[in-house]
Structure formats: structure tokens, C-alpha cells
Point group: C2
Chain length 239, copies 2
DNA sequence: TTGAAAGCGCTAACAT
DNA sequence: ATGTTAGCGCTTTCAA
């Protein structure tokens, strides 16, 4: 079995390719994109495709985007990159995006207000046609479609995807209760994460309804600004 | 205190701005970028900057990139998005990149060979000026600088950043040994991750040197294709 | 001190 | 069946 040799050719441009072949750029463009409605002899088509492969032609998506006014790029705002929570959302988001033929720029802002603003502008400037903001405190609407996940507050024109914290509370507490537990400890999430308050409110509410008492000495507040499981070490006594 | 009203203006172009002001695009461009060497009256400068702010002008980084042949964009290849390991690297990478004024595209390939190839090409086509490949099985060199982290094999022109598995093994085993442990169990990483073999080799080697016996009934192999801590549940008996 | 013009790489409309 | 042209939004000579 012969090994494929390492490939590392200079990227050539459409025009060079056309010159090389003695045809017009338009023809090359049309052939390479399989645009219907233009009749071009199969021979020419083959010649062009072969040359493209041979010269390792890669269309400049940059130029194409400029010309088409379409970047096929989405901007993703996320508080942090290294954690398992937000990043797992990104994973799903990324999957769908790539399947749909989109690229995405990511920017993380660590919940810093000015960075949220700055980066969202940057993403737009860089050609993002829409924004997906995960747990990010957006402050105004945008000239492009925006979907917020766990958005901090409702914003005109921003679709906000929310967890059903009520249902979550019911599930958790019912589960523990059915196991026979009555002394339940609560870890409250960090205040900078938008879900924390809602989650807590619902937990307390559902607990009351179920007759589970929330004892103040069994409530601990997570404060560390980190996302790994270590976050919980101090309060559960590992440290 | 007055609330800032939501902002959502149409992005205007350099040319429109120039027309609006009755100056040439060149002048606007120069002023907005603070290009030295062109003497322009302060009054004009102020007028231009004010108008830019007022009309919410955002330069098209796309057009700029095309013109300058410089995208300030790096492509990042990663196996998976939702895990804590690779993503923590991405976090560091992302930080530095953003600090340095770079954007980055991310693509994840789940260790699928064809996707690795496809996406690296896409990233280049999209304007990436360099690639960072994390635990990705690259197969050839590239016309741009590439840094691999935990690269699967050495490739001409690709800088490979490797963990010192030997040292890691020494640290781990010494630690356990000093705690008095002699019966040590080993979990071998999934085979598709490039570090696994090296890590294992060194562990065995160091264990032998330290006189720690590696008992075959204390070796378990992780096989699940997932990255969360659940990965280890089966083998440690949680399930 | 400022403007006009060319051109980055591409595609769509309009010739031929 | 194919080529020519204009222009996406910007920057950079070169002129004025």
C-alpha cells in the first residue's frame, strides 16, 4: 500500500486557475460550484475539475462571503470555555451548526460586561449573521437574529431559551423524597450565573409544597469562580 | 438614572459614511484607523469619528481581511467540544488568542479521519492563517503554520507539544507509594486518544523501576466514547 | 490636505 | 457555449 505523500501546495486563485486553463474565471466558478442552467461540455467540466484538484484549488470563502453577502457564520458567546456545563451546550450547538454548513466564532467573556459588549460587536464585524449567547448578560437588541440560552433578562428581539426550573426542582426533590430522605442539603449556584436564582426560587417553592423543610444550616453557597467539580470540594468537606 | 435605549442600527459602510460627510472613503479609513503620516485637521478627524459613532459604523473585517490578506484568524481543531479535558486547553488557547487580537474558528471532528481532513481544509478556506490541532490525527503538512497539541505522530513542519508522561508517571506513582499503597489499579485511557499509549507505557515502565507490580486483574480499559466523568463509572463499580 | 483609482478573490448579470 | 464587466467594502499608492 502506497502512502499518500504529504500535501502542502500554495493556494491558488480562481483567476490563476482560469488563466492556466485558458478559460474565463466565470466558467471555472460555475463548474466548480455545479451551478445549474449553464451548459458546458462535459470535457471542459472534467478538465476544470481535474485542474482544480491538481493545483489544490481552495476557493476563498472570504471573497465569496464578501461577494455574496453571506458568511454562513454564527457567533457564539459563552462565559467560559473550560467548563463542562456551558461547553456541553456549545457541543450541541457546534454539532448542529457544522451539520448545517455553518462556521462559528466563539468568544468567551467571563461574565465581564464590557467584554460581552465588545465581543458581540467583534463577532458582528467579523461577519456573524446571527448570535447565540449562552448564559450571557446581553444588554440590548441586535441587528441580527439572536438566540439566548439562559439569557439574563428578556430583550426585545432576542429569543430566550430557558430551562424549566420548576420541573427540575420537582424531579430532584421527588426523587430524594421517594428514597426516604428528609434532611436535604442545598448548594446554591454562583450568583453570576443566570440560572442560579431561578433554580433556587423553584427549589424552595417546591420544597415547601412538598413539606420538605429547607434548613438554613444545610444551605451552602457556592462562590468560587470556577466550573470544574472542584467547585464543590470546599463545601462538602473535601478540603 | 436614565436607561440606555436598546441599540440596533443598520451597519453602515465606509462609503456611505464618506458620502454622508462629504469626504472621500480614503480619508475616513485613515482617520478611523489612526494611520500616521497623513495630516488631517483635527476638526475633520473629530467630525469623522463623531459620525462613525453616531451611525454605528462597524468596519467590515471581512472586506478588510480580503484587502489586507490578513484575517487575524486561527483555526482550532479539537476532537470534542463538551468535555473537560480538551476544552480546558481550548480555554487557554482561546484566552491567548483573544488577548492577541485574534479570532478563532473551532471545528470538532470526533476523531473521524475524514472530518479532520475536511475541516482543516475548511478552516484554511475560511481564512485561518494558522492551525492549532488538539489531539487530532493530522496526516500531512500544511501551507500555514501548525501547532499540534498531543499530536498523534510527528509531521514535517508541524510543531508538536507533548506532555512529559514519564514525569507524570513518576509523580503519580511516587505519591501513591509514599502514602503506603502497594496494590494500585490502573485505568487505561481510550485508544483513540493519542496520549493513552504513551501514558500507559511510561506508567508500566516507572512502576517496574519502582518495584510496584502491575497486576493484570487491576487493569481496566476505558472504552466508552465519552468525556465526562461518567466514563469511569462502569469500571469503578458505580453501575 | 485630500481625492481618485486599482484591486484583494469571487459571482451574477449581461454580452457575445 | 463561454467571456466580459461590475462590484461586494475596504486600503493603498499615486495624483492633485
Amino acid at each position: 500500500m502506497k502512502k499518500k505523500p504529504p500535501v502542502a501546495l500554495e493556494p491558488s486563485s480562481l483567476k490563476k486557475l482560469a488563466d492556466y486553463l485558458g478559460v474565463s474565471p466565470a466558467t471555472v466558478s460555475v463548474v466548480l460550484r455545479d451551478v445549474p442552467g449553464r451548459s458546458i461540455p462535459q470535457a471542459t467540466r472534467d478538465r476544470i475539475k481535474a485542474a482544480a484538484k491538481k493545483l489544490n484549488y481552495q476557493p476563498s470563502l472570504l471573497a465569496r462571503a464578501l461577494r455574496n453577502r453571506r458568511t454562513s457564520t454564527i457567533g457564539v458567546l459563552v462565559p467560559e470555555l473550560g467548563d463542562g456545563y456551558h461547553t456541553q451546550m456549545m457541543s450541541g450547538v457546534g454539532n448542529q451548526l457544522m451539520n448545517a454548513g455553518y462556521f462559528y466564532f466563539t468568544a468567551h467573556h467571563r461574565h465581564r460586561k464590557n467584554l460581552i459588549e465588545e465581543y458581540s460587536q467583534m463577532l458582528l464585524g467579523r461577519g456573524a449573521e446571527a448570535l447565540i449567547a449562552i448564559d450571557s448578560a446581553l444588554e440590548h437588541s441586535f441587528p441580527v437574529p439572536v438566540v439566548a440560552i439562559a439569557g439574563h433578562r428578556p430583550i426585545e428581539g432576542v429569543t430566550n431559551v430557558l430551562l424549566n426550573h420548576r420541573r427540575a426542582a420537582e424531579l430532584t426533590l421527588t426523587h430524594l423524597y421517594s428514597l426516604g430522605h428528609r434532611n436535604i442539603a442545598f448548594m446554591r449556584g454562583q450568583s453570576f450565573s443566570s440560572d442560579s436564582d431561578e433554580r433556587w426560587r423553584n427549589l424552595v417553592q417546591v420544597a415547601r409544597e412538598m413539606g420538605i423543610s429547607v434548613k438554613s444550616d444545610l444551605i451552602v453557597q457556592l462562590n468560587l469562580d470556577m466550573q470544574s467539580p472542584e467547585l464543590g470540594y470546599p463545601v462538602v468537606g473535601f478540603l
